[in-house]
């Protein structure tokens, strides 16, 4: 083939030497080829479009098949990582663990004369690291607020929250049908439950327990009463207004107490709250009142959550 090419080249050279060959049409009179007007690229055909078509067609199905396998593999590898981690951790239950350092020593040895509480755990969570527990109460408070946003139906205000709600409305107001066995037992049990809850709250600084557990027990008592006697009865002594006031009041009292305690502590001023002698009921400074307040708060929260899930209102 290249011989033909050479001939062509020779011809070109001869023409050039000859000098009389006409330069090819310099300014083509043809239709102007202007980039913008070129025919728009026709769609499809390009690999990118084919990939998209495949994804639309069977994207979801393939993911469904592949997802479990990946999930299992991911979790197994994660689990093995954790197990290897545990293998490298300090051994269980040794005194040489890093945990048993001067921090634990102070917590145990001077918890009595610092906080007046015999139960070191209460001392820690309510005095040494008191601020954390203040915010514990706030977590509960926010959770209830969030649930109210979601579940509370303000029927009489006419807010058509969700048309769906209207259909099953009858079930909400359904009062528990008169069940004598349940009512009798609750009549006997509820006072003791509330009393026991109060006991747990009061003795938080002496024995295990405290505001949170006591509150939960009291809450359970309230819920049992509600289950037995229905909303009408309970509204007589524990309606919406009371509920709000108790909840917010308890929180505010707790905050005020804690602010006073922190401000005094931070500025190294004596806070004038008597610690009382250890072991007595009215001792351990601010821990007792805090336990009471927290107990109330937790009880209201428990009851509130149940009521919202049950009736979308109190």
């Amino acid at each position: 083939m290249n011989s033909q090419e050479n001939k062509h080249k020779l011809q070109l050279f001869v023409d050039w030497v000859n000098g009389d060959n006409m330069p090819e049409e310099e300014y083509s009179l043809g239709e102007p080829v202007f980039e913008e007007e070129k025919a728009a690229k026709e769609p499809g055909a390009s690999p990118w479009n084919r990939f998209h078509a495949w994804v639309e067609a069977n994207g979801r199905a393939s993911v469904k098949k592949v997802y479990p396998v990946i999930c299992v593999l991911l979790c197994l590898s994660f689990l093995s990582l954790l197990l290897v981690l545990v293998a490298h951790l300090p051994s269980f239950g040794e005194l040489a663990n890093p945990g048993f350092n001067e921090v634990q020593q102070v917590y145990i040895e001077n918890v009595v004369e610092d906080t007046g509480a015999v139960n070191a755990v209460s001392g820690i969570i309510l005095n040494y690291r008191g601020y954390d527990t203040l915010n514990e109460a706030h977590v509960l408070f926010v959770a209830v607020a969030a649930v109210t946003v979601l579940l509370r139906i303000d029927r009489h205000k006419g807010t058509s929250m969700d048309v769906v709600y209207e259909k099953e409305e009858s079930d909400q107001r359904y009062e528990p049908h008169h069940d004598p066995i349940l009512r009798k037992t609750t009549k006997i049990l509820v006072p003791f439950i509330l009393l026991f809850g109060l006991y747990i709250m009061m003795n938080g600084h002496l024995s295990p327990g405290g505001g949170f557990s006591g509150g939960a027990i009291a809450g359970a008592g309230l819920i049992l009463f509600l289950m037995a006697f229905g909303f009408k009865k309970i509204e007589r002594f524990f309606g919406e207004k009371v509920y709000q006031i108790v909840r917010v009041g308890a929180l505010l009292i707790y905050t005020v107490l804690m602010t006073y305690f922190i401000l005094m502590g931070a500025n190294q001023l004596a806070n004038g709250i008597p610690l009382g002698e250890p072991g007595a009921l009215f001792s351990a400074g601010i821990i007792l009142p805090i336990n009471l307040v927290v107990g109330l708060e937790v009880a209201c929260t428990m009851y509130g959550l149940f009521a919202f899930f049950r009736k979308g209102g109190l």
């Binding site: 310099e26 300014y27 083509s28 009179l29 102007p32 080829v33 202007f34 913008e36």
Partner: protein, 495 residues
């Protein structure tokens, strides 16, 4: 004069531009009022600029301190006087041209708003005293000119506008990195000193970084100066109305890119450091490639304004070639070509605009025999093209002459190849301008007169600026003594 006038000069057009949409002149009825409202500030501003050039204010005017070292400050030194003078000189002419041209495009308020604002922003670039200020106005220039490019708001111009935007912002981002490297090596406030602010020790500490920094700045600002790999936006933008293409893409925007490269080369990185380094080699190589490439593409292009746009691409790289020679003579050649190319190219674009307005023809082969009908326009076009080719009596020859001698005296083989590139491009320039002239005046055998019955010269607003420019070309061609001495003083860093 006190340096505060610099601020006045920059802000006056920007305020007029900003006020226009608020005053909201009606399209047709108070066109006269709008023209007055635009013309007076522009002319006033030009007078102020020339007053500033004549008796230069001493010292810098610092507006605000961004950080401890970086500040927004202005100054009128030699180089800024040249660029400001060029812009101030050509702006009134092109505004006058735009008054009539825009009548058939529409949306005049929006057009003149951005048009006058660009005036202020370009002056901002010219008069900035440090790299950060220049960078600020450089970015503003992009943002102010994008609406102008998109003026017609049809699919084509929007796509062109977006392409222009992508290139400019990309370029600015690349340049920003280079500026940062500059900031680290040498005086952090990056104010412009003739001979560069990069200290010797900083360079010796890490020569490759400084060179990479310079190349980043070079290609970053080079995007606006349409250097080879980043030149596509310039021809694409020729869809914009002619006063926009003429002024922005022959004078303001592209020259801002070239001006920025001059500033960076001679006032920030300093020729002393860069002379003979591979960075200079690369920069010069790209400039040379663009010179030849631009002309070749222009030769191939059939669309009238795109052909002129490609010619701008190639001519701009003359300036950059001069800059990369890194000698005072090279700098002088660059300055000369910046001035004279501004005048030449704006004339050609105006003629293209007049042809478009009068006959609506956009392609080169449609211009058959128009020479007789549109006498003045094509006379100006002929003078412009002869100047561009480098005929001795016209200004084009002077700048080619300065560039050529500078390259010859530079002595390196690269410079020698550079001259060859210059000359090849000159031949190609003749290749793409002369056929138009010949075609216009000496129509071919089978040509019938009837096609150009209606074609005649456009109104006074459009022809007067063109003729003034021709006179300027002839004057500078014949009597360029004083101008060249002034430019040499700037190039040698005396003023």
């Amino acid at each position: 004069m006190s340096p505060y006038w610099i601020l006045v000069v920059i802000l006056l057009p920007m305020i007029t531009g900003a006020l226009l949409p608020i005053l909201d002149f009606k399209e047709e009825e108070d066109r006269g009022k709008r023209q007055l409202f635009v013309a007076i500030p522009v002319i006033l501003n030009t007078i102020l600029v020339y007053a500033l050039i004549l008796h230069k204010p001493v010292g810098d005017l610092t507006l605000v301190h961004l950080t401890k070292d970086l500040s927004i400050s202005f100054r009128m030194d030699g180089l800024s006087a040249v660029f400001a003078g060029l812009v101030a000189g050509l702006w009134p002419l092109s505004t006058c041209y735009a008054f009539e041209y825009i009548r058939h495009e529409g949306k005049e308020n929006k057009f003149f708003a951005f048009y006058t604002m660009t005036y202020g922003v370009t002056l901002g670039i010219a008069l900035s005293a440090n790299v950060v200020t220049m960078y600020l106005f450089y970015e503003l220039l992009t943002l102010v000119t994008v609406p102008l490019v998109m003026h017609a708001m049809d699919k084509r111009s929007i796509r062109a506008g977006l392409k222009y935007l992508a290139y400019s912002i990309g370029g600015a981002a690349i340049a920003f990195t280079g500026v940062m490297i500059l900031m680290n090596s040498g005086d952090p406030s990056m104010t412009f000193y003739y001979g560069g602010s990069v200290t010797e020790s900083a360079y010796l500490a890490n020569p490759t970084l400084v060179q990479v920094g310079y190349l980043l700045c070079f290609f970053g600002f080079g995007v606006k100066a349409a250097i080879f790999p980043f030149h596509e936006w310039l021809p694409a933008v020729s869809v914009a109305p002619t006063p926009v293409t003429a002024l922005l893409h022959a004078v303001a925007v592209v020259k801002a890119g070239a001006f920025a490269i001059l500033r960076i080369t001679f006032y920030s990185f300093g020729p002393g450091i860069l002379l003979g380094t591979p960075a200079q080699g690369i920069a010069m190589a790209f400039a040379m490639i663009t010179i030849v490439f631009g002309s070749v593409m222009a030769l191939k292009e059939q669309h009238f304004k795109r052909r002129l746009a490609y010619s701008t691409v190639s001519n701009l790289s003359y300036i950059i070639f001069g800059a990369t020679l890194m000698t005072p003579y090279g700098f002088l050649g660059a300055l000369c070509h910046m001035l004279f190319h501004g005048i030449m190219k704006i004339t050609l674009f105006f003629c293209a605009g007049s042809v478009l307005v009068q006959t609506g023809r956009e392609y080169v082969h449609e211009l058959e025999g128009l020479g007789k009908k549109m006498k003045l326009t094509f006379f100006a076009f002929t003078v412009g093209s002869l100047a561009l080719v480098g005929l001795p009596l016209l200004c084009g020859f002077i700048s080619k002459w300065k560039l050529g001698t500078a390259a010859a005296s530079a002595g390196t083989t690269f410079a020698f190849v550079g001259i060859l590139a210059l000359l090849i491009s000159a031949v190609l320039t003749c290749g793409y301008t002369m056929p138009i002239v010949i075609r216009a005046y000496l129509p071919r055998e089978g040509f019938d007169e009837s096609q150009n019955e209606t074609a005649k010269d456009p109104g006074l607003y459009m022809t007067v600026p063109v003729l003034i420019l021709c006179a300027a070309m002839l004057y500078f061609g014949m009597h360029s003594g004083p101008i060249c001495d002034a430019l040499f003083a700037v190039a040698a860093g005396l003023i």
